[in-house]
């Protein structure tokens, strides 16, 4: 379980995260929902230790973070994180060189699934292809958790369908996924838990299935209620 307890993060003179607490469980897809600038990406970066937090605790499987989390958690940002001069195959070699959890077979399988050409330069990838390549880098390791920041942003319909297919595949099943997206409608049926961010806090944290069956509300309905308050 990834657990945030009272996390505070200041950015440009205001608290982007102001006592944020929530959990993301293994085996579940948790979606962070919020308006632009609500701090969704900052949460992901804070979990990965890519931005320092001012206060609060971030625990992974009950333990404070250390560099060991990088074998346990994969991060899929919304942009490329490999040098543009590298070929895709070189990027995979780089990952294999550094990560003990890297699964080369799965990487090759994913490359085939997304129809990616290993010899192509990373710098030549279109936005959609770059997103698929990012998913390869994020899903190939045998990590317990995957953080995905806007995996559908700016991507064409067919690529979105391919990425959405991944969510319902065995690649995700056993892992804990923490996701941010603006395209809620597209993935609503896949999400187990939603966390609505407002003013740097988790305004609401709910089980989507329970919300649907007990109150008959979709995630978008709940969002409307929260943001119209």
């Amino acid at each position: 379980m990834i657990e945030l307890k009272g996390v505070r993060k200041r950015y440009r003179g205001r608290y982007v995260l102001n006592g944020l607490s929530f959990t993301a469980d293994k085996g579940n897809i948790t979606c962070l929902i919020g308006m632009n600038g609500a701090g969704k990406s900052t949460v992901m970066k804070a979990i990965m230790g890519l931005v320092p937090v001012k206060e609060g605790q971030i625990l992974v499987d009950g333990k404070p973070r250390g560099r060991w989390i990088y074998e346990k958690i994969s991060f899929v940002p919304d942009h490329l994180t490999m040098p543009l001069s590298m070929k895709m195959s070189e990027g995979l070699t780089f990952m294999a060189d550094f990560y003990a959890s890297w699964n080369a077979e799965r990487a090759a399988e994913l490359m085939r699934f997304f129809r990616l050409e290993p010899s192509e330069k990373i710098g030549n990838l279109s936005k959609g292809t770059a997103a698929k390549y990012n998913l390869v880098l994020g899903l190939a390791p045998n990590s317990d958790y995957v953080l995905m920041d806007e995996p559908f942003s700016g991507i064409d319909l067919f690529s979105r369908e391919m990425i959405a297919d991944v969510f319902s595949s065995e690649l995700i099943e056993e892992r804990g996924v923490l996701l941010t997206t603006h395209e809620i409608g597209e993935v609503e049926h896949l999400i187990d838990k939603a966390v609505i961010l407002q003013d740097g806090k988790a305004e609401m944290e709910f089980d989507c299935e329970t919300m649907r069956s007990e109150e008959g509300k979709s995630i978008v309905d709940v969002m409307r209620e929260v943001y119209s308050r």
């Binding site: 990965m48 320092p52 990088y70 940002p77 994180t81 040098p83 543009l84 550094f98």
Partner: protein, 277 residues
């Protein structure tokens, strides 16, 4: 250690084309300068022979590679100066290229399951490697230049030259390729200290952004002041100073060591605890 070496290899690999271009440019400019100098001198001798009918050896001194290097030192210094400028710029870029642009490699580097200090030391040693590769290449070019010069100059008009003399004939080489180890230690020591201070300042900026620029400039300024203070106040370069020369040197060395330790510590601390993407 394995991860450090892998990162170092990657850093060198990323700079390889620029490094080869600098080496190519240095070789081309310096060898052309030597060739043109030798041909110009032969031409002068031929003109003298045509005009007077007398052997040029009677009027001209024998052709010397050392003198040719001295006469062409501007053209020798141009690629050297350009290489230094490129390396100074790259000392910034080696960090900033990972943070800016379409791909932010910093995300990946900072998420590696190895100590972050490997990133710092890989970047540091990459820059030092580039410096010493270029210096080594320059040393290699000196005998090649002499061979080219000897091929152009008529054998009976050629005076043998030592490479050490040729190196000393160029003002820039006096600093880059000093004759004594003490000078080498001082010159390159100052270079390494400057690089460490620059890295600490860059990481201050990457950690605190706008405020970090102020911190970075203040830190670099403070270190610079600390380094020149003994020279200004303790009379390091004056025999009339309050301290004996050895004492002043010892104080200078202690201050330099302090700057090295504080810069490395600060850089590693910021990279581990404060830096953000």
């Amino acid at each position: 250690m394995r991860n450090y070496l892998k990162l170092l290899h990657m850093e060198i690999h990323r700079f390889r084309y620029i490094l080869f271009a600098l080496m190519g440019m240095t070789a081309l400019v310096q060898m052309c300068a030597i060739a043109f100098n030798a041909m110009g001198e032969i031409n002068e001798r031929n003109v003298y022979f045509e005009q007077t009918g007398r052997a040029p050896e009677e009027f001209f001194a024998a052709m010397s590679y050392t003198r040719a290097v001295q006469e062409t030192q501007f053209w020798f210094a141009v690629p050297v100066g350009l290489s230094i400028a490129v390396l100074v710029i790259y000392a910034f870029l080696i960090w900033y290229r990972d943070w800016f642009g379409r791909s932010t490699f910093a995300y990946r580097l900072l998420s590696l399951p190895s100590e972050r200090r490997n990133i710092y030391f890989a970047k540091l040693t990459a820059i030092l490697t580039f410096v010493f590769v270029l210096i080594g290449f320059q040393l290699l070019l000196m005998p090649i230049g002499r061979a080219i010069f000897a091929m152009i100059a008529p054998a009976h008009q050629l005076q043998p030259s030592y490479i050490a003399d040729a190196i000393f004939a160029n003002q820039a080489f006096k600093i880059l390729l000093p004759r004594s180890f003490a000078e080498f230690f001082v010159n390159y020591g100052l270079g390494v200290i400057s690089l460490l201070v620059l890295f600490a300042s860059i990481l201050l900026e990457r950690s605190y952004r706008w405020l970090g620029i102020v911190y970075g400039l203040a830190y670099a300024g403070f270190c610079a002041l600390l380094m020149v203070y003994p020279m200004l106040a303790l009379g390091l370069d004056y025999s009339t100073g309050y301290f004996y020369t050895e004492e002043a040197y010892a104080i200078q060395m202690a201050i330099d060591a302090l700057i090295v330790v504080s810069s490395v510590w600060l850089g590693l601390y910021l990279l581990k605890k404060k830096v953000s993407v």
